[in-house]
Point group: C2
Chain length 188, copies 2
Amino acid sequence: MALIFATSNRHKFEEAKAIAAEHGVKIEMRDVLCDEIQADDLEDIAGFSAKEACRILGKPCFVEDAGLFVRALRGFPGPYSNYVFRTIGNEGLLKLMAGIKDRDAEFRSAVSYCEPKSKPIVFSGRSSGIITTEARGHHGFGFDPVFVSKRGDGRTFAEMLTAEKSKYSHRAMAIRKFLKWYVQRKTV
Amino acid sequence: MALIFATSNRHKFEEAKAIAAEHGVKIEMRDVLCDEIQADDLEDIAGFSAKEACRILGKPCFVEDAGLFVRALRGFPGPYSNYVFRTIGNEGLLKLMAGIKDRDAEFRSAVSYCEPKSKPIVFSGRSSGIITTEARGHHGFGFDPVFVSKRGDGRTFAEMLTAEKSKYSHRAMAIRKFLKWYVQRKTV
């Protein structure tokens, strides 16, 4: 039986699917309309959503929540990266960063898994990098075109194909931590 | 018995208290730690919070949620005005608006009241205005220093004392609608 990834984001699903395959896990996408809370920590948001999605589906499932935290902007756009991207976009973020020397930023991801009648468990991933001065690339989604990982070769996340981005990304890190735990647990 | 306003914001409470007094209603501030959902509509957020706060308190109460929606920024910072203010502040908003001619913005407020075992009821208020080119004034809170109501005299909300701001504000409008309903209902 496939493991359910409760998400409405096709890009996230494709990233997760490739990583799950590496772990011999088959995942299935389900767009569950559930409440998401406001919180400064992604872990709290993901935990709440996993519990909600599991309650609605009546089955084990996992969710993922991510955000871009820019140091010079005190963590903006953070947990609200989705709304900020939909409104001011990469253009707005670059405008805010104009003239700012400290370009440090971190992409964070929280994956949460929940089973019926259980508490959600959360796995985190982080990717350190910098905000570019112009948007580059067309792969991925969201703020990928303005983020360069410190562990990469200078290209933005949007200039990498999924498999390559998954070597460095916050989401891949959190999903790998979760799947490692999930697979070991299932084989005990 | 005083009516409970579930909020952690002293400024909001003081604004509401003065308006409640006009309606012969005594209100009490209670900082209830409850979940707040993410949604594009303030009405949905307020309704959820009122239900949560009422469930936790076991008593009737109301909550208020507000946001600044800037037209040229497609509704940014909207429902996440609090986090955006805490991170990039007025300075960040003005930077985003630099060079933009369309300064139209709207402050929106949603007040929601809930009683145990009932559905929350929501009242909305709006205040049309423009975003200034510099922050002015020290009263109020949040984005008040960069917002000028179209119905006022050119001063920002932060250049007005509470009583004056309440003639034009989104929050005062929503709270008045609610209290008018609340008082009539109580005397039936």
